[in-house]
């Protein structure tokens, strides 16, 4: 719905989308790029691209996933350009901070903040139920943009093992999230 309105040049709709997703998207971009100044530019580019290309979303799949994918792909492109990154990620998992309040943006409403907190809690719970080796492979693929082959080299395990961990990990994450209430509406805008 919001994307339809944005495609019709409704700036208020873009503002609403921004207020709802900007913080989470910025967290993700910053997690991937780890350079705040660059992350800020990628964040800006992401929403600008949504503004320009909302009409290209034809309603297939989840609208939110489409926006997140733009941000992630842009971030990974940027990451690939930053060839000289220190390789400290092999054992790095997103830290567990149960109940952590995300820092609210000036414009975030109570509803948005509590919604973010609730989603964060839900995904953390789900990740906590996934074997740590599967979770590591998922996070290397998602946040580092690494291929299965690269993960195998980084973690020093066989390619077949990585394939299995990625498949089982994401399928399990999906099962747990759906059991915990993730629906298609969650990803709508």
């Amino acid at each position: 719905m919001l994307l339809d309105m944005i495609a019709r040049r409704d700036a208020d709709a873009l503002t609403a989308l921004y207020d709802r997703h900007a913080q989470t998207i910025y967290n993700m971009i910053n997690r991937i790029i780890r350079e705040p100044a660059v992350a800020a530019e990628v964040h800006q580019d992401t929403f600008w691209q949504v503004w320009q290309k909302a009409s290209e979303f034809h309603g297939a799949g989840a609208a939110a996933a489409w926006v997140y994918r733009i941000a992630r792909n842009k971030s990974l492109d940027q990451l690939r350009r930053q060839k000289a990154r220190p390789q400290v990620v092999a054992t790095t998992l997103v830290e567990d901070e149960p109940g952590d309040f995300p820092p609210p943006a000036d414009t975030a409403s109570v509803e948005q903040i509590s919604e973010q907190a609730w989603k964060r809690q839900r995904v953390r719970r789900a990740l906590g139920d996934i074997p740590i080796e599967q979770r590591l492979c998922l996070e290397l693929a998602y946040y580092e943009g690494m291929s299965q082959r690269e993960i195998a080299e980084r973690v020093n395990i066989s390619l077949g093992t990585v394939k299995t961990r990625i498949r089982l990990g994401l399928e399990k994450l999906e099962r747990i999230l759906r059991a915990d209430g993730l629906t298609a509406e969650d990803a709508a805008l």
Binding site: N27, E56, L76, P103, S109, S114, V123, K163, E174
Partner: protein, 310 residues
């Protein structure tokens, strides 16, 4: 990957495909299957939705200052441009790679460029006779009549189409308006639910009620989780620029300032505060009206909200 794969084999590769973790040749091969199999495509969307949830657990980082304003300024400038990018995008194919990796969602179909009509051949030069002129005039009048009828018909058709489109747009807008009303009602319900949820997530919370000088219905809740707290305020009036609301926690009998904020009467106001260990034992939470910029000492006469730790 030149060999044929079964649907089950492709399904096993979809998680890595969604994460973009396949090798390039595998990505292309799987993409070929996915684009031609609605069941596989539907599965990709499901997995993609689950994968996108990983964004929610990235460590929190404050948004860059003025990022929102910068974007909205840019959008406003874009809207003011006589030929904005939205108009352009109906005729220009923009790069879509960021939008559609690894899944080709919403790929626009290339619009064929209309062929230019062939150039008119050069007219034959010859001398005209009066009979030629008469014939030509008659033909022109007959042609004019045909063109007039044809033109009127086309105009009527175009007007009919235009009116039809307007009617469709009107119906669509009516539906959207109804949906917006419904959405607003749902959001209002969710606002209540979310605040209850915030209360559940917090270690403890303190309810602040309006004092005798507060507007009727003014209230607040202060949610505490570890070393962080969120104050949610409702129903306070907007203050002039020379004044501000200030949040205080009374620690060992001493009111200590924890931030200033401006209220918006028709929506909740939020103040996020850090709570050092020394503040964990606060007994009372107050909101007072202070001069712009805040005070070091609370003005007791202007306390508008107060709550005690029970």
């Amino acid at each position: 990957m030149s060999t044929e794969r079964t649907s089950d084999q492709i399904r096993e590769l979809l998680p890595a495909y969604v994460l973009g973790a396949l090798d390039p040749d595998e990505m292309l091969a799987v993409d070929g299957y996915v684009q031609n199999d609605p069941m596989l495509l539907a599965r990709v969307y499901e997995l993609e939705q689950a994968a996108s949830q990983l964004a929610h657990v990235a460590p929190s980082t404050p948004l860059p200052a003025a990022a929102r304003e910068r974007l909205l300024d840019r959008v406003q400038k874009d809207l003011k441009r006589p030929s904005s990018s939205a108009d352009m995008r109906t005729t220009i194919q923009l790069p879509i790679e960021e939008l559609n990796r690894p899944v080709h969602v919403g790929t626009p179909t290339a619009r064929p460029v209309p062929a230019m009509p062939p150039a008119s051949p050069p007219e034959r030069l010859r001398r005209d006779t009066p009979a030629d002129w008469r014939n030509r005039l008659q033909q022109w009048l007959a042609g004019l009549s045909r063109r007039a009828v044809l033109g009127a018909t086309v105009a009527a058709l175009l007007i009919g189409i235009y009116v039809g489109q307007l009617q469709i747009q009107l119906n669509q807008m009516s539906r959207e308006l109804a949906t917006i009303h419904s959405t607003v009602a749902t959001l209002e319900e969710r606002a209540q639910e979310n605040q209850q949820l915030l209360a559940l997530l917090a270690d403890r919370d303190v309810r602040l009620a309006g004092t005798s000088i507060a507007p009727q219905g003014a209230s607040a809740a202060f949610y505490v989780q570890g070393d962080k707290g969120v104050l949610v305020v409702r129903g306070l009036e907007a203050l002039p620029a020379t004044q501000t609301y200030q949040f205080w926690l009374v620690i060992d009998g001493t009111p200590t300032p924890f931030g200033v904020f401006q209220a918006q009467p028709d929506q909740p106001t939020l103040l996020s505060v850090a709570l050092p260990q020394s503040a964990q034992g606060f007994a009372i939470a107050d909101v007072s009206i202070e001069p712009a910029g805040g005070s070091q000492q609370i003005t007791k006469e202007t306390v508008v909200l107060r709550g005690s730790v029970s």
